[in-house]
Each structure stands twice: as structure tokens, then as C-alpha cells.
């Protein structure tokens, strides 16, 4: 039975093998063959992600990162937090019950690059924003084992001691605009001041941040220090915005209630 089914295939393959036998004498033919064979799949999977509309949800009020938050994100990348923390709650019941509504495509729409992660040595952070206090985040980063004795997370105490570099932020926002994040000229020009303002609630610069990025912007002494703006301010500001860029996920999904 199997033999008869197979016959036409075997014939076809015989033909192919003979063709191949001739083709493999030409390195350019081999090159062309490889390029063609290896291009199809990628094209079919990636190109439609740009052309199929419902790939990314439409959310008009989707927020962009403030310069301070973006700086925090850059530090998050620099320190390799993504090596242990995912930012992608999968559409599985246990993940939704543990971490909250599953992540939507739109939530990483302005993430260049995305930080979905591939390993959870630590918990998912997609919705960690506002889950803990600034003070907790600071103390946890300074030494995780002070708060969670079982933790294997590294200490990042130096963040609290390192003054935040603001001078390259306008360039960074401009680059982000070049890849599609809607920063305005004004935002780019004032990036440095906005960074400091967001971490200094008592200054006028703080009001300016709210004007530019919305009244919901968190303006606080994130690192608890009043005297200077540190890298810790940036990282905590970033962590506190995770999951809060849009509330579409919370409003559109049924919530687990136990």
C-alpha cells in the first residue's frame, strides 16, 4: 500500500536528484537556490505583519515614554534585565491570573526594540508599574535580598550613586522619532529639562513635563533623593510606567476573580 502511495513521490525525487546532480556543479546556482529557499518563509511571515490591520490594536490615547522613562528603559537594556525578566504576559489562564491581563501588541508599539524576553528567572514585569512603591523598587534594586531573602537578582546599588546623564537624550528622542515614535520638536528640545523635572516635583520643570506628556505623568522623587537626579530615578520611573501606557488591556479583557 505504502509503496504505491510512495511511487509518484519517489519518481519525482529521482528526477530532482538528477537535476540536483547537475546543478551542484555550479556554485552560483547553489547560491541562488539557497537564497530563494531561505527567503520565502521570512517574507511570508514578516511582511503581512505590516499590512494586516488588526495586527496591532488601534489605541488613540496610547502614551509614549517621557524622556526620563526612556532613559530608564535604556538603562534596563544596558544592565540586561531582559535576560531574566519577560515583559509579555501570554494568553494562558495561569499567566493572566498571576500577572494580569495578557499583553497586547499595542502595548509595545513604541518599544524599539521590544523587550518581551525569552526567560523568566525573575517574574514577568509587563504590569509591574504601580505594583510596588518607589521606595520598594529602590531598596530592591540596591539589594534584592534585603527584601526578598530568596532572590537571585543582582544588586544595582550603583544606580543610586550615578548621576543621570541627560545630555544625549535629545539625540535619542530624535532617533526614536526617526523610527516612528511621535516625539515633537518641543519634546526633543526640552528633553533634558523634562528629565530633571519629572524627578523633581517641586520645580517648574515638573509642570512642563505634565504639560507635554499629560497630567497623569508620574512626577516624583523616584529614588527618594532630593539633591540630584540619578539613574535610579530613571529606572524606577520606567518600572512604574510598565503596563500603564494604555488601559486597553484592563478594559477589554475579562478579569480573573477568585
Amino acid at each position: 500500500m505504502f509503496k504505491t502511495i510512495l511511487k509518484p513521490f519517489a519518481k519525482l525525487f529521482d528526477f530532482q536528484a538528477r537535476t540536483h546532480y547537475r546543478m551542484e556543479r555550479h556554485s552560483m546556482a547553489l547560491t541562488a537556490g539557497i537564497i530563494v529557499a531561505a527567503s520565502i518563509g521570512g517574507f511570508v511571515e514578516i511582511a503581512p505583519l505590516f499590512s494586516i490591520d488588526d495586527t496591532v490594536e488601534d489605541v488613540p490615547d496610547m502614551r509614549i515614554y517621557t524622556p526620563l522613562e526612556q532613559a530608564g528603559r535604556d538603562i534596563y537594556i544596558r544592565e540586561g534585565c531582559y535576560a531574566c525578566h519577560s515583559q509579555m504576559i501570554r494568553s494562558l489562564r495561569d499567566e493572566v491570573e498571576r500577572y494580569g491581563p495578557y499583553s497586547l501588541a499595542v502595548e509595545s508599539k513604541y518599544d524599539h526594540p521590544m523587550l518581551w524576553g525569552s526567560k523568566r528567572t525573575g517574574p514577568d514585569l509587563a504590569r509591574v508599574g504601580d505594583k510596588f512603591s518607589d521606595d520598594w523598587q529602590v531598596r530592591h534594586l540596591v539589594n534584592p535580598r534585603n527584601l526578598v531573602p530568596e532572590s537571585v537578582m543582582p544588586q544595582y546599588a550603583f544606580l543610586l550613586e550615578t548621576e543621570l546623564k541627560t545630555s544625549d537624550m535629545p539625540g535619542r528622542l530624535a532617533a526614536l522619532r526617526a523610527v516612528g515614535v511621535p516625539y515633537t520638536d518641543e519634546m526633543i528640545e526640552n528633553a533634558e529639562n523634562d528629565m530633571k523635572g519629572q524627578a523633581r516635583p517641586e520645580t517648574e520643570a515638573a509642570d512642563a513635563v505634565m504639560d507635554r506628556y499629560g497630567d497623569d505623568t508620574a512626577v516624583r522623587f523616584f529614588d527618594g533623593r532630593r539633591d540630584r537626579v540619578t539613574e535610579m530615578d530613571a529606572v524606577v520611573a520606567y518600572l512604574q510606567i510598565l503596563g500603564n501606557l494604555t488601559d486597553l488591556a484592563q478594559t477589554s479583557q475579562p478579569q480573573a476573580e477568585e
Binding site: 525525487f13 547553489l30 544592565e79 535576560a83 495561569d94 526594540p113 523568566r120 544625549d168 530624535a174
Partner: protein, 550 residues
């Protein structure tokens, strides 16, 4: 080494090195105050050293005999040594980061020694440093032998090998300084990425030119695989690294894509880095060294065709199996899952082809640790591809994703397959390359084999255990229908496995150190012996390419 270059070639080499040093100087000046500046100094030092090496031998005697009569093996030799050095460095970093997960305070004060910064040093160190150098070196060896032709240039092989190592150095030193794009296996920043493109184009040209000089009508299977490795890695690298630098004088850049599109591009790249870096290149190695060592013909040419094209075509589709249940649209996930399952057949076809080739040589496998390395590699290749296809099935991935199970799978492939085939090939290659009678110590090879095997088994088993426990704990429900364990509960359960893994890794690292030692001792202490018939020839009777008298 220098005596194989003519005066003109030495001048060219010096010009290139001088030009590179200038670029380094420019980077150092422009990137002052940014890690890019440090990279500038590294580039300057790198080319500076090369410049002086060449300069100091500029007027030494030129080659007298006709170089076309022999294969060009100097770059291969250096490549093999570099691969082994990177193996020791990269695996040491592996053992270190593994230990940090068991004992998190095992680090220095500085930011550089945190897990997040060291982990990519390990992954890039072993994949690119160890794997990449081994691939480049063996490809030089194999393309010349199977084409019966010497490589065309004298400079370009060096340019590719050393240029690639410069890329590795920039990548690894960058991670330690916090320079990273965060894209797994493509973390290096924009200028290193651009440099790699230059190196890779030269590599491709070199490969094609050697093939075009061949004295054998057909191109051997191993070369198909190397060619696909070179070509597809180029495509992947260029597309996934598209980015806009925040400034031309700083290291930071932002990926062109964002969110879903970026995720799909990243894992299209990431998976195919596995496919075309960690698989096809090493299959090329397997297809040459295994039959050679076993002294047996390849079991089936037809199977080679089927598995080669199957691998090239199917692999490209499966990247989305890294994104199951995520915000990536469901349809792409289905494609990734089904193609991963179909991919199993060509994968097993190549593993089977290798193992069946050993028919008639099993006695040798028993006695010869070198061949045993290759045999084990084929077994692990089959094992990890089976596991991979299994993990690509959505519900299975629901459990395995994000856990140590993935890490276990990775290392079954990386240690069991990639590293074992490389070590086997190095043991087969070293005596031939350096014209030695034999390896310095066969006992040491035997030791290495058992250390590597037991290290891999301990590593993989502990990660299977921890991964599955972790995955299950995250989704265990009480009878009440609520989750049973908190995240920290699962973290506590991992501790013993993390210790076991670090131990397994230590065994494996010990083996790698023994290998480096053994190769060095072979070069230093084993008597010379010229092999017969190891020269380029266009004649069927295996005479040198040109009569020696000319």
C-alpha cells in the same frame, strides 16, 4: 606565518591595518566619553598590533617555493587556536553566570560583573567566538581539500578571520560596558554590526572564488552547508540589525522595528542563528570529518539532498515558535508550529545519514575517542532537534517557554552537538594541519570525551528537571481552582538544580581546557610527519597542481 607572504602582500596587509588603526583613532576621538570611545581604542590597539607584527617582518625572506603547490593552512591554524581560547573564555563565563544563579553574590562590586551583563558575554563568546572561529577555520580547510584548490588570496582569509575576531572582541567588551541592543544573539551595537557585514561579504567572495577554482566538477555536501551558513547569516544579520544610531559619536541605537514586528524579526533571526550558525555550519563540519575519520562513504547522497534542502527551506519558517501565546498574531504561531514539526524529518535525515555512515566503522567508534565525539554529536543533534520540534508544539511550549527547559534544550544542542562536533573535528584536524604524527595525548582525548559527555548530561538533566518543575509550579492549581505556588516558591525549588548545572558546566569547561592544552602540546612536542596527498591537484592521479619542477 609571515614567510608565506610576499613583500607586496605584506605592504597591503600593513595598509589595511594602518587604515583600521585610523578608523579606531577616529572612533576614539569621536566617541570620547562614551563606550564607543573605548571601542575606538580597542580597534586602534588591535590594528596597531597587527601593523607591528607585519612591519617587523616586512623585510624578512619571501616565500621561495611555489605557493600554489600547497594548501593555505596558516589562517586555519590560527583559527583553531582562537576557537579554543574563546571556548575556554566563553565556557568560563558560562560557569560563572551559572554559579551566580546559585550564589548571587559571586560577583565583583562593579556593574560590569552583574548577571545581565555577563550572560551575553557567555552566549556570544561560545557561539561566535568558539563556534564562529571553528566554522571559519574548518571551512578554510574543507573548501580547499574538497575543491583540490588553494584559497585564492593570501590576505582575504586573514581579513575574514581576524576581522571576525575583532567583531567578537567588540561585542564581548561592549556587553561588559553595557553596550547592547538587547536583541538576543545580535546584541552588538551598530558599528560592530556594520563591521561584521564587511567581513562577511569578503568571506562570501573568498568562498565563491575558492569554489570557482576547484578541480572537482561537483561541489561536496559540506560546502553546500557552509555556503548556506554564509549566505543566510548575512541576510539575517542585516535585516535584524537595522537600526538608527542615536548619534554618530555614541554606541546607542534604536531598532528600526518595534513591538510585534520587531519580535517576529528578532526570532526569525534568533531561530535561524540556531539554524544557520549552530546547525548548517556544523553539519558541514560533520559531513567532512565524520566520513573522513570513519573511512566510510557517506551513507546516502540522496538523503543529503533531501535533508539539505529541507533544512534550508523549512527552518526559515519556524522562528515564531519562540512567540507562542504572545501578542504575535495566532496565524504566525500556527505557521511556526507546523513548520517546526515538518522540519524534524530533514533534521533526523541528516543525523541518520551521519550515524548510518558509521556502519562498518563501529569498532573505530569504540576505540577512537575522536570519532566518538562525532558520533555523540550526531546523537545529540538528533536529540535536540526532536526536542525542539516537540517544544514548538503550542501547548508544550506553553509549559516550556520562559523556563529552564529551554535552557536545557539549548545546551543539549550547544554542548552536545555544536561543541562535541567541534572538539571531534579539532582532534581530527590538528595532526593534519600541523603535520604531526598524532595528538600529544590520546588519553587526554579520552578524558575530555568523558568529561564533556558527563558534563552535558548533568547540565541537560538538571535543566530538564528544573524547567519542568518550574513550568508546572507556575500553572499548578489547588483543588480550589486557584494557583498554588507563588513565583518565589518556584525560585526556591530551582536552587539545587542551579548548583548541579554549575557543576556539570565545570566538568565541561575542564574538558575544554584539556583540549587546548593537548593541542598546544601537540604543536610543541609531537614529531613532524608529512601526510601523503595533502596538496591541491588538478590531476586524477593526485599529483600537485603544477609539476614541482616549474
Amino acid at each position: 606565518m609571515m614567510s608565506n607572504l610576499t613583500g607586496a602582500e605584506r605592504t597591503t596587509a600593513m595598509t589595511i591595518a594602518g587604515f583600521g588603526a585610523l578608523i579606531g583613532l577616529a572612533m576614539a576621538a569621536a566617541g570620547h566619553g562614551d563606550p564607543m570611545g573605548v571601542h575606538g581604542w580597542i580597534v586602534l590597539a588591535f590594528f596597531g598590533v597587527l601593523f607591528f607584527i607585519v612591519a617587523s617582518a616586512l623585510y624578512s625572506p619571501e616565500p621561495v617555493e611555489d605557493r600554489a603547490l600547497s594548501y593555505y593552512d596558516d589562517p586555519t591554524k590560527v583559527g583553531i587556536i582562537l576557537a579554543l581560547i574563546w571556548a575556554v573564555v566563553g565556557m568560563f563565563m558560562g560557569v560563572w553566570v551559572a554559579s551566580q544563579l546559585a550564589w548571587p553574590d559571586l560577583r565583583f562590586e562593579g556593574a560590569w560583573s552583574g548577571f545581565g551583563r555577563l550572560r551575553p558575554v557567555h552566549t556570544s563568546g561560545v557561539i561566535f567566538g568558539f563556534g564562529g572561529n571553528a566554522l571559519i577555520a574548518t571551512s578554510y580547510h574543507i573548501m580547499q581539500r574538497t575543491s583540490r584548490a588553494r584559497m585564492p588570496g593570501q590576505i582575504s582569509p586573514w581579513f575574514v578571520l581576524l576581522g571576525f575576531n575583532l567583531f567578537c572582541i567588540l561585542a564581548a567588551s561592549g556587553y561588559v560596558m553595557g553596550v547592547t541592543q538587547s536583541k538576543e544573539y545580535a546584541e552588538a551595537e551598530w558599528y560592530a554590526d556594520i563591521w561584521l557585514v564587511v567581513v562577511w561579504v569578503v568571506y562570501f567572495i573568498l568562498y565563491m572564488r575558492t569554489l570557482s577554482r576547484r578541480n572537482e566538477p561537483h561541489i561536496y555536501v559540506a560546502n553546500w552547508y557552509y555556503l548556506s551558513f554564509i549566505l543566510v547569516v548575512a541576510i539575517l544579520h542585516i535585516v535584524n540589525n537595522l537600526a538608527v544610531p542615536a548619534s554618530w559619536t555614541g554606541a546607542k541605537s534604536y531598532s528600526l522595528f518595534s513591538g510585534v514586528q520587531d519580535a517576529m524579526t528578532q526570532w526569525w533571526y534568533g531561530h535561524n542563528a540556531v539554524a544557520f550558525f549552530l546547525t548548517t555550519g556544523f553539519l558541514g563540519m560533520l559531513y567532512y570529518f565524520l566520513p573522513k575519520r570513519a573511512g566510510r562513504p557517506i551513507y546516502s547522497y540522496r538523503l543529503s539532498i533531501l535533508s539539505f534542502w529541507g533544512i534550508v527551506f523549512f527552518y526559515i519558517w519556524v522562528g515564531s515558535h519562540h512567540l507562542h501565546y504572545t501578542a504575535l498574531p495566532h496565524w504566525v504561531q500556527t505557521l511556526g508550529m507546523t513548520f517546526s514539526v515538518m522540519l524534524l524529518v530533514p533534521s533526523w535525515a541528516s543525523a541518520g545519514n551521519a550515524l548510518m555512515t558509521l556502519n562498518g566503522a563501529w569498532g573505530k567508534v569504540r576505540d577512537d575517542a575522536t570519532l566518538r565525539f562525532m558520533m555523540m554529536a550526531a546523537v545529540f543533534y538528533g536529540l535536540s532537534t526532536f526536542e525542539g520540534s516537540f517544544m514548538a508544539i503550542r501547548p508544550v511550549n506553553g509549559l516550556s517557554h520562559y523556563t529552564d527547559w529551554t535552557v536545557g534544550h539549548v545546551h543539549a544542542g550547544a554542548m552536545g552537538w555544536v561543541a562535541l562536533i567541534t572538539f571531534g573535528s579539532i582532534y581530527a584536524l590538528t595532526p593534519v594541519l600541523w603535520r604531526r604524527e598524532t595528538m600529544y595525548s590520546w588519553k587526554a582525548v579520552e578524558w575530555h570525551f568523558w568529561l564533556a559527555l558527563s558534563g552535558t548530561v548533568i547540565y541537560v538533566f538538571s535543566m530538564w528537571n528544573s524547567g519542568i518543575i518550574q513550568g508546572l509550579m507556575w500553572r499548578t492549581y489547588t483543588e480550589t481552582g486557584t494557583l498554588k505556588f507563588s513565583f518565589v516558591d518556584s525560585l526556591v525549588a530551582m536552587h539545587p538544580y542551579y548548583i548541579a548545572r554549575a557543576f556539570g558546566g565545570l566538568l565541561f569547561l575542564t574538558g575544554a581546557c584539556i583540549c587546548l592544552w593537548n593541542v598546544v602540546m601537540t604543536i610543541l612536542h609531537v614529531p613532524q610527519k608529512a601526510p601523503e596527498l595533502d596538496y591541491p591537484t588538478s590531476s586524477e592521479a593526485m599529483e600537485p597542481a603544477l609539476p614541482a619542477a616549474e
